[in-house]
């Protein structure tokens, strides 16, 4: 399944590597942005299935609120990817879960597949072990 994905990440190298991994998997990376405002702009102007959201962005720790907004109000499936998962320990309403960085291609692949299946409403029995689910 090919998905339209937005990467929200302020480390350019991490974002680039993630883009390559996702494109290798056959997904379309619509854009890569580094702050919350740009992210909202992209989501308003494009159809986005899935957003991979870092918590600390170039405009501060704005990822949590951004993820909640994208998930609850803008119809985007949201997966957090962060080096500091403690920041979302109590979960964020309307989002799927969090993947700890650094991670590897396989973990990204299984987490993205899982999130997209949830979006499609397909039954998913087991979540990938690296992914911490909310709710």
């Amino acid at each position: 399944m090919t998905a339209r994905i937005l990467i929200i990440e302020d480390e350019a190298l991490v974002a680039m590597e993630l883009r390559f991994v996702l494109e290798d998997l056959g997904h379309r990376v619509v854009d890569t942005v580094a702050d919350a405002k740009s992210a909202r702009d992209v989501v308003r102007e494009n159809d986005i299935d899935l957003a991979l959201v870092d918590i600390h962005l170039s405009d501060g720790p704005t990822g949590v609120a951004l993820g909640r907004e994208l998930g609850q109000e803008m119809g985007v499936t949201v997966l957090f990817m962060t080096a500091n998962p403690g920041m979302v320990r109590n979960g964020v309403a309307g989002t799927i879960g969090v993947l700890s960085k650094p991670t590897d291609e396989r973990a990204v692949q299984t987490a993205v597949d899982y999130a997209l299946r949830r979006r499609q409403g397909e039954p998913v029995m087991y979540a990938p072990p690296e992914l911490q689910l909310f709710g």
């Binding site: 480390e11 190298l13 590597e17 080096a83 998962p85 403690g86 590897d104 087991y126």
Partner: protein, 513 residues
């Protein structure tokens, strides 16, 4: 008529005390040159009446003079020592009686005997300090000789009243000492940077030092009783009251942080502490407490916490950037893909170790359980779970805490063992399992990794990979332990035998210190 002898209770040529000590004792009473006091006046009046004599005196023998705290029949408050009867009396043990001074060698030439007022009879009882030093006498004088001497009742009266004079003097001194000690307490309390307060056993506030009023700006006395609670931030009042009530009921020390309203209306974080003072029976007689402004301290703590969080975030980010950099570099070289992937998983294990042992705050605490060895390993091994998410590496035995010094070694060791098991060992088969038993045995901590259900093992491999070297280096080089590999038929068994202190060296060092 027989020549009356001087009746001495004891003769003493040399007293047991020296004059300097005696004068020191006298001055310690701080009685010299004080105004008349009714309590002493009544005593001399009574003595004069009992003896039916015109003169009675509470006489204190100072340097070069005798000074009268109370007198009747003399009309002066002091006279020189040269003509003093009492200066002789204080050389005696307890008392001195002179029935007729004209017949006593010591006094027959005394101008007070030969001239006015023509003294004849003297009876004096020594006034002695608690240490036994004679500071003066209670004495009675008459211009008529008494060859028969005083009666036993008169002498007993003199003795009892002399003791009363000393009781009055001692009491006076004790009160003065208490006033001084209280003045000292207030001086210390008022000069402290802390606010100091005190309450009755039931918690009724009846004292605050000057600093309290200066800091809070409230009128003196306005926070007595229970009114103090209104000085705290409304959100802290219930909590402070319940902690204070608990201490009053149990006698437990009181300690709490709350926001106290300063004179400018700003609430500042304050540390409140109190301890009870108990009497000999163990009953609480008072509470003494302090309030210390810790607002600046708290702010600097918060700033430090923020900085430490920021730093930790950057460190974790560096792991992610390095990992991405390796992956991006390897894209240009497909032949390096396996190598890059192995390095990245090792970096990932190190990042996890960092996440577990770095100093944490409430918000940065890892999402998985506590920061113990088992919690860390369970997290590290999550990637090796089966398809249903059930772990395939089973942890058993004693858990332990571990610090950052041990974390990287532990992370590398078990990362290598697990990847190896996934490639060649038990975890390469779907139903293969590993048990990891961690056990404290005296001063050793032993970790046993046992693989079962994998491909049959025929013996040690001929070639040792870098992963194995890394595992050995971690245990033997870094943790100071021994690593043993047993190629059992059912699978590999690895025993890491560590000194018990290896996991938490810093704590072990602190315990020794």
């Amino acid at each position: 008529m027989r020549i009356p002898e001087v009746r001495l209770s004891a003769t003493t040529d040399k007293p047991a005390w020296n004059e300097a000590d005696r004068l020191g004792a006298l001055r310690a009473y701080e009685i010299l040159d004080t105004p008349r006091e009714a309590a002493f006046d009544e005593i001399v009046n009574l003595v004069a009446q009992v003896f039916d004599a015109p003169i009675a005196v509470v006489n204190l023998i100072d340097e070069g003079r005798q000074w009268f705290k109370a007198e009747t029949g003399l009309g002066v408050r002091e006279t020189p020592l040269e003509t003093s009867f009492c200066a002789h009396a204080i050389l005696m043990q307890d008392s001195m009686v002179v029935p007729d001074a004209t017949r006593d060698d010591r006094f027959s030439c005394n101008p007070l005997v030969t001239g006015e007022p023509g003294l004849r009879f003297y009876a004096g009882r020594l006034l002695k300090s608690a240490e036994g030093l004679p500071i003066g006498t209670l004495c009675v004088l008459s211009d008529k000789p008494r060859p028969e001497g005083p009666t036993a009742l008169q002498m007993q009266t003199l003795q009892v009243l002399a003791a009363q004079v000393m009781t009055l003097l001692d009491l006076r001194r004790a009160l003065a000492a208490q006033r001084q000690s209280e003045a000292q307490f207030r001086a210390i309390a008022d000069s402290m940077p802390q606010m100091v307060w005190s309450t009755l056993p039931d918690g009724f506030h009846d004292y605050y030092n000057a600093r309290w009023y200066e800091y809070t700006g409230v009128p003196e006395g306005s926070t007595d009783g229970e009114a103090w609670n209104g000085m705290f931030h409304p959100e802290d009042q219930a909590r402070a009251m319940s902690a204070w009530t608990h201490s009053l009921e149990t006698g437990d020390p009181y300690e709490i942080e709350y926001r106290l309203r300063r004179h400018d209306g700003v609430y500042r974080w304050t540390l409140g502490r109190a301890r009870p003072i108990r009497d000999e029976a163990g009953e609480i007689t008072r509470w003494f407490g302090t309030c210390t402004d810790i607002d600046d301290l708290k702010r600097s703590d918060q700033a430090k916490e923020l900085l430490s969080q920021e730093l930790s975030h950057r460190i974790k980010n560096i792991f992610a950037v390095v990992s991405a950099l390796i992956a991006l570099s390897a894209r240009q070289h497909p032949e390096a893909k396996a190598f890059a992937s192995a390095v990245r998983t090792r970096i990932s294990a190190l990042a996890r170790a960092h996440e577990f042992v770095r100093p944490h705050t409430e918000t940065s605490r890892p999402t998985v359980g506590s920061m113990t060895l088992h919690a860390f390993l369970a997290d590290l091994f999550k990637a090796y779970s089966d398809l249903k998410g059930e772990p395939r590496i089973l942890l058993d035995g004693d858990d332990a805490t571990f610090d950052d010094q041990a974390a990287t070694s532990v992370a590398l060791l078990f990362h290598e063992l697990a990847t190896n098991a996934a490639k060649y060992g038990a975890l390469s088969r779907e139903d293969g399992r590993v048990t990891l038993d961690t056990r404290r045995a005296g001063d050793r901590f032993i970790l046993t990794w046992t693989e079962t259900g994998g491909p049959a093992v025929s013996g040690p491999p001929t070639h040792t990979g870098f992963g194995s070297s890394l595992a050995s280096l971690s245990v033997e080089g870094q943790l100071g332990g021994r690593l043993e590999r047993n190629w059992l038929r059912d699978g590999l068994q690895v025993v890491a035998d560590l000194p018990a202190t290896a996991l938490s060296r810093r704590r072990a060092a602190q315990n020794v210190a």
